[in-house]
Amino acid sequence: MIVSIASGKGGTGKTTVAVNLALSLGDVQLLDCDVEEPNVHLLLHPKIIEEKSVYVSTPQVNEELCDHCGKCSEFCEFNALFGTPEKVLFFPELCHSCGGCMFVCPKDAITEKNVEIGAVKRGVAESVELVYGELNVGEPMSVPVIKDVKKQIKSSKTVIIDSPPGASCPVIESVYGSDYCLLVSEPTPFGLHDLKIMVQVLEELNIPFGVIINRAGIGDKKIYYYCEEKGIPILLEIPFQRKIAVLYSSGIPFVVEMPEWKRKFQLLMDDIKERMKN
């Protein structure tokens, strides 16, 4: 079973929920798909057992074979190739690695080379297997790194996926194919606004979901009214407590210091499984 964790707004507690849920359940695989800013390893301190580079293929134009017909730049939907009469200019940051330019070149002047854009690391912490990706700084495309992280999914296990913030392609890539999604929000106008955006995304993707309210007690009650009106279950509330905030700031998952919360996370998982049956 794959449970993903998303939020829309950043900093609502996705990673906190992912890590504490994983530690409470034990024997799970935890995937950190926030490859722009992976943080799970800062809380879990895993022993890294494997590291693999992530590559994308980008075109290479052999100027000796190229007759500057311009078909490649005409084809490229992303404007990554720009043909001039003397030279084909290539803008790697715009390339989606679709391979189309190679197809259309009548002179076979285009080949591909692999460019490293990030890495996937695999490690263990207690009974949790952690897989996380890291996009190289300056690289724009995070999706290929997320794809490589997700290739490590072991379907025999319970898999927890921590997603990046936002609601565009990297988030879709992260939550895609999950059986259930936990939306972590906070009871503030920003939290609610961005939660609504993610609700739309999940409805379109047809992934069942429930809400976890973090920092319960701050802000206002509108998120509760919204969930009630939409029939969205609120599965857990994590109160706003200085102790939890301080533990997070020091890189300590709060179930370690507050073990009574382990039971709550276990019950949360039971609740999700029960809902999946219906």
Partner: protein, 307 residues
């Protein structure tokens, strides 16, 4: 003719010879970018405001823009199969690198990147690319100046392109209205929408928090600014949540010769202001948070002035 320079804010209309742009970014989400940017918009007087977090824009909830102009954003295309021509040969499926075509030759709109490879490999010419509306860009008025913002449709790709449109619109407004400063609220992360938000800006204010994640993400955000040769400034929000980590952040900045433009304490007033739909500097001008944001703004301006 010399205009009177406001002592509080150190700038006046036409203060800069050329347009300056400052982006508020963070790496980690939820560190307070929008709270701080909204207050800066109030303090700046007549700046052009650009909300470049197009996935999850929140700035409008504090600045209440009145939309003057809406533009459709056609950021991507989608492959469409004409079933009457398709022979289900499977060539398109084999050629698609995004796994967007299923065994039964159905296009998955969430995976399709609109590259057009399927179009050229199809022997029956059964596939075409259709433009899709991926979002909207807005040009609006606020009490504090004109605002360029946008909304990406949920789940869409190409947010970087929409950010580029928001910035293009902001520059155009600045030119038309003869403004000399654009204030940018950036998205979290370091990927394509962030790169689109910071390219060509004069300074980037990285808002961080004294947590292990905050320290880690600050480092990556700073590397990104360095990569694009942008003057970095640092603001530590909720610095009193963990003073030891704040000390680590301050030492890190000293060592790397980075200017700490501000240290803002945790205060529930920030959430109260948000619930009231107001910027914190207007909601509680006497509050310590408002005063620290104002002090931060002065430092940001003097850094911009030195550039």
């Amino acid at each position: 003719m010399e205009e009177k320079v406001s002592v509080t804010h150190g700038r006046h209309k036409g203060a800069y010879e050329k347009l300056k742009q400052i982006a508020v970014v963070s790496g980690k989400g939820g560190t307070g970018k929008t709270t701080i940017t909204a207050s800066f918009a109030v303090l700046a007087h007549d700046t052009v405001i650009a909300d470049c977090d197009v996935d999850a824009p929140d700035l409008h909830m504090l600045l209440h823009p009145q939309t003057m102009k809406t533009q459709e954003f056609k950021g991507s295309k989608l492959a469409v199969i004409d079933r009457t021509k398709c022979t289900e040969c499977g060539l398109c499926q084999n050629s698609c690198r995004f796994d967007a075509i299923s065994e039964s030759v159905e296009i998955d709109p969430f995976s399709c990147e609109g590259c057009g490879v399927c179009v050229i490999v199809c022997p029956e010419e059964a596939i075409s690319l259709k433009e899709r509306i991926s979002g909207y860009a807005f040009i609006s008025k606020t009490k504090y100046g004109s605002m360029s913002h946008a909304r990406l449709n949920p789940g869409e790709s190409n947010s970087g392109k929409l950010v580029t449109l928001v910035r293009h619109n902001a520059r155009q407004i600045a030119e038309e209205e003869n403004r000399d400063l654009i204030l940018i609220d950036g998205p979290p992360g370091i990927g394509c929408p962030v790169i689109a938000s910071v390219t060509g800006v004069d300074a980037g204010l990285v808002v961080t928090e004294p947590t292990m994640s905050g320290i880690h993400d600050l480092n990556r955000a700073l590397q990104l600014l360095k990569h694009f040769n942008i003057l970095p400034l640092v603001c530590i929000n909720q610095y009193d949540i963990n003073k030891e980590n704040t000390e680590i952040l301050v030492k890190f900045c000293e060592k790397n010769k980075l200017e700490v433009a501000g240290k803002i304490p945790f205060d529930p007033t920030v959430t109260e202001a948000m619930v009231a739909g107001k910027t914190v500097v207007e909601h509680s001008p006497e509050n310590i948070v408002s005063q620290e944001i104002e002090a931060t703004w002065k430092i940001v301006l003097s850094a911009l002035n030195r550039k």
